[in-house]
């Protein structure tokens, strides 16, 4: 897991323009760009000062280790899934990858080669009560004939995708607008939620009703003030009330050589 994380942040920093100064099996050293420094290092005064005085900006260098440093002299941060730093990086990565417009580069059998428009939407479902579970699904919708594909990211992963279309390719026009495409995916999401087992929600609701009943009986028995009753009721509902949240992680318009998948 630590290795995967190391690879992950290597890719994150590299793709965002930082200089990888050193990288081994268990450590990595990165010279930040000004933008990354401003985003991650939280030192606005430094940047304000440098700009005011016209000094040469010196972005910081970060070092990460995948194992907690036994050698205290090692300067650097421990790269671990529980650290605030990593979550800051996850958050940053999420913000940098929200919307994309990409074209597949491939070796076409004949030129000029058509590229078909696909709307890609990655969705996170959260099932929340006093417990919680998330489920991530990746959808792709072909915007000409309307084929809806699951596990879209898996289909995309082997492809070479670039921001600029290759000379020998040309994009086909969509018949389905992005907005209505999104609506179709939303309907699919709705279907997923409807079909999803809801024993967890029923269990939570049952528990909630039991506790509310106990509270109610008690409050009646001792003639508790309404505001006390309401407060406790609120606490109970906050804890058990089941809900499903459907979030879009990211989305994009992808022009692919495949008409259908």
């Amino acid at each position: 897991m630590a290795d995967e994380l190391l690879q992950y942040i290597h890719r994150y920093f590299e793709t965002n323009g930082a200089l990888i100064q050193h990288c081994s099996n268990n450590s990595i050293q990165i010279k930040l760009t000004e933008a990354l420094d401003r985003e991650l290092m939280n030192r606005p005064f430094y940047w304000h000062y440098v700009k005011k005085t016209g000094g040469t900006p010196e972005p910081m260098t970060l070092t990460f280790f995948t194992e907690q440093a036994e050698d205290q002299a090692k300067k650097g941060e421990w790269l671990h899934v529980g650290t605030p730093r990593l979550h800051q990086i996850f958050e940053s990565a999420r913000n940098k990858g929200i919307w994309s417009l990409l074209y597949e580069h491939h070796e076409p059998k004949q030129t000029p080669a058509p590229l078909y428009p696909w709307l890609v939407v990655n969705v996170k479902y959260s099932f929340v009560s006093h417990q919680r579970k998330d489920k991530i699904l990746s959808y792709g919708l072909q915007l000409i004939h309307g084929q809806l594909v699951h596990h879209m990211m898996d289909h995309l992963r082997p492809l070479q995708l670039e921001p600029i279309i290759a000379d020998h390719s040309f994009p086909m026009a969509s018949l389905i607008q992005v907005e209505s495409g999104l609506l179709r995916i939303k309907n699919e999401a709705q279907r997923f939620v409807d079909d999803h087992p809801d024993d967890w929600a029923e269990k939570a609701e049952k528990k909630m009703l039991q506790e509310l009943a106990l509270l109610h009986t008690y409050s009646q028995a001792v003639s508790a003030p309404t505001e006390d009753y309401e407060k406790e009721k609120n606490d109970i509902q906050n804890r058990y009330q089941p809900s499903v949240h459907v979030d879009i992680i990211n989305s994009g318009l992808f022009y692919l050589s495949h008409s259908s998948l």
Binding site: Y8, R11, Y12, T15, Q68, H80, V81, G82, P84, I89, F90, A93, R94, K96, G97, I98, W99, S100, L102, N122, S126, V128, H130, Q131, R132, K133, D134, I136, S138, M153, R157, E162, P163, V178, E179, L182, K186, V193, D198, W200, A201, E202, E205, L214, T217, Y218, S219, V222, D228, K231, N234, D235, N238, P242, S243, V246, D247, I248, I249, S251
Partner: protein, 542 residues
């Protein structure tokens, strides 16, 4: 479907928010964003996800089980009532972390005794990577997600209104047994604070008296035990068993002998010392003070003096001087006692303690009841090239840690006047000298508990010192040796006694010592106390 369905606004505002404002991302950035969510997602309702988020904490099976039980069976509202030394703080930290990792808790409030706020925050940070802010002068209630504060601060205006305005996802109460009484301000505050999940930590074995738990449980699950009237009726009709059954729905209590931890042994040694003739002479003349005429002090003072004389002449001198200044002691008596003190060259007990220290390679924690003795021993040991550090309950936390560090790295001996409260861990040492014995057995247990705890790898050697032909001998021989409290696995005591009983015992012993007219009477009374404790332990521990 019973669950309420929420679509993120992005579904509606797709064009404006997503496609226009956001920069186009590269394929790599697109994948990184997707993967970041995969890392952060919660794969299942159950299980402890946080275990991969924390490392460097050695968890014991009972701690993991407790966290799982609180999360999966008690739905995050529970009393954690492990016996002392099993790591309730760790359990609470685990549970809090799990909820945070699952995104169910963002805002949390940890209410602990004022002296422990810093330590709690530090432990949450170092063990669980939970950034917790201590409420000091600067207000952090609103800006920090996790706040550690004392309930006494939090309940006072102007803090009170701010705190009661927050929606806490989780509130943790340490020392929750102090919330037994519903008429107190603390209780009212605990009730009013908005909390989704709630943990209450207590070491006092209240389980055996469910009635005491009524109000505590009421904070967790109002109505679970019915109204107080109904509860009393239920208790009468169905008895303790039924109540215990209900209580178990909200309380976890791990016992040492049920955990799979193998505890190291305690080897208890009684060390009897004989006074030199000069010392004995001084002691006897103090003993005669109470029966002689011309003094105006209370029996309690005379017992104090005798105990001090068993410790060091320095300790007794302080009290004598005080009495003299307050005119409780005639001048001629004071002067003659002073001469006796000056004639004493040897402190037999200190000599014996030195011998024990010199004969072990281990670091030694020595406990005394008196500060003058503490100072004297520091000086005395230094004459023999032995470096020692002092330790007092009154030290600030940072100083305690400092002393702990010097002791660990450089000094051979720590001389402490108090067990130092929770949080001071001395498991790198495994030898204790009880230079003076406290008369409250709970305090003796606390002393031992500083060394004999999770993490202690060696058997613990305990030396209980007492001077022959003094009140100390009675206490050690007639009471402590007999009940053999400390021979057993760590702190069997707290299952037998609660802190109230410990204080009562101390008082009983003091009264016995000051009021008894003969050795025989002391013996009878202490035997009586022993019998009482046995009954108590039979009822509670059995």
């Amino acid at each position: 479907m019973t669950a309420e369905l929420n679509y993120h606004p992005d579904w509606e505002l797709f064009d404006q928010t997503i496609r226009q404002k956001e920069q186009l991302s590269s394929w790599e950035q697109f994948q990184l964003a997707y993967e970041a969510e995969q890392w952060r997602a919660v794969p299942d309702f159950e299980g402890l996800l946080c275990l991969r988020h924390i490392t460097g904490v050695d968890l014991y099976p009972h701690q993991e089980q407790t966290a799982k039980r609180v999360l999966e069976e008690m739905d995050g509202r529970a009393i954690l009532a492990d016996e002392v030394g099993l790591g309730k703080t760790i359990e609470a930290g685990l549970i809090l972390k799990e909820y945070m990792v699952r995104g169910l808790v963002q805002k949390a409030l940890i209410l602990v005794p004022a002296s422990l706020t810093g330590q709690w925050a530090q432990e949450m940070q170092s063990k669980f990577l939970i950034p917790a802010a201590v409420q000091r002068k600067h207000y952090v209630w609103e800006e920090a997600d996790v706040v550690v504060a004392s309930i006494d601060t939090a309940k006072q205006p102007p803090h009170r209104d701010i705190v009661l305005n927050q929606d806490y996802d989780m509130v943790i109460f340490d020392e929750a047994h102090k919330l037994k009484n519903p008429k107190t301000k603390n209780y009212e505050f605990a009730r009013l604070v908005k909390k989704t999940f709630c943990l209450m930590l207590t070491a006092t074995p209240v389980q055996n008296n469910p009635a005491e738990l009524y109000h505590l449980i009421h904070l967790l699950k109002p109505g679970l035990l019915g109204s107080q009237k109904e509860f009393k009726k239920l208790f009468k009709e169905k008895g303790e068993q039924e109540i215990k059954h209900i209580v178990q729905q909200v309380m976890v209590r791990n016992r040492r002998d049920e955990t799979e931890i193998s505890w190291t042994k305690r080897n208890v040694h009684s060390v009897y010392i004989s006074f030199t003739p000069q010392e004995q002479h001084f002691y006897d003349s103090l003993n005669n003070l109470s029966s002689s005429n011309g003094h105006r002090f209370h029996g309690f003072t005379s017992v104090t003096l005798l105990r001090e004389a068993c410790s060091s002449k320095e300790a007794a001198y302080g009290t004598l001087r005080n009495m003299y200044e307050k005119k409780e002691l005639p001048e001629e008596t004071f002067i003659s006692l002073l001469e006796r003190i000056q004639n004493m060259e040897i402190n037999s007990k200190a000599q014996k303690a030195l011998e024990i220290i010199q004969n072990t390679d281990d670091k030694v924690v020595l406990f005394t009841e008196y500060r003058s003795t503490q100072l004297y021993l520091q000086w005395y040991f230094k004459q023999f090239g032995i470096l020692s550090v002092p330790f007092r309950g009154g030290f600030r936390h940072s100083k305690k840690e400092w002393m702990q560090m010097i002791f660990r790295d450089r000094a051979k001996v720590m001389i402490a006047t108090e067990a130092g409260g929770e949080g001071i861990n001395l498991q790198f040492s495994s030898t204790i000298i009880n230079y003076d014995l406290p008369w409250n057995p709970m305090r003796l247990e606390q002393r031992i508990g500083r060394l004999h705890r999770l993490g202690q790898e060696k058997d613990v050697e305990i030396y209980n010192m007492a001077v022959r032909r003094t009140i100390e001998e009675h206490v050690l021989r007639l009471l402590y040796e007999k009940i053999q409290l400390f021979e057993h696995v760590i702190g069997t005591l707290d299952t037998i006694l609660d802190s109230r009983f410990g204080r009562e015992m101390e008082q009983y012993i003091t009264e016995t010592m000051q009021d008894s007219e003969s050795e025989r009477e002391i013996e009878v009374k202490l035997n009586h106390l022993y019998a009482l404790m046995e009954t108590e332990s039979g009822q509670k521990g059995g």
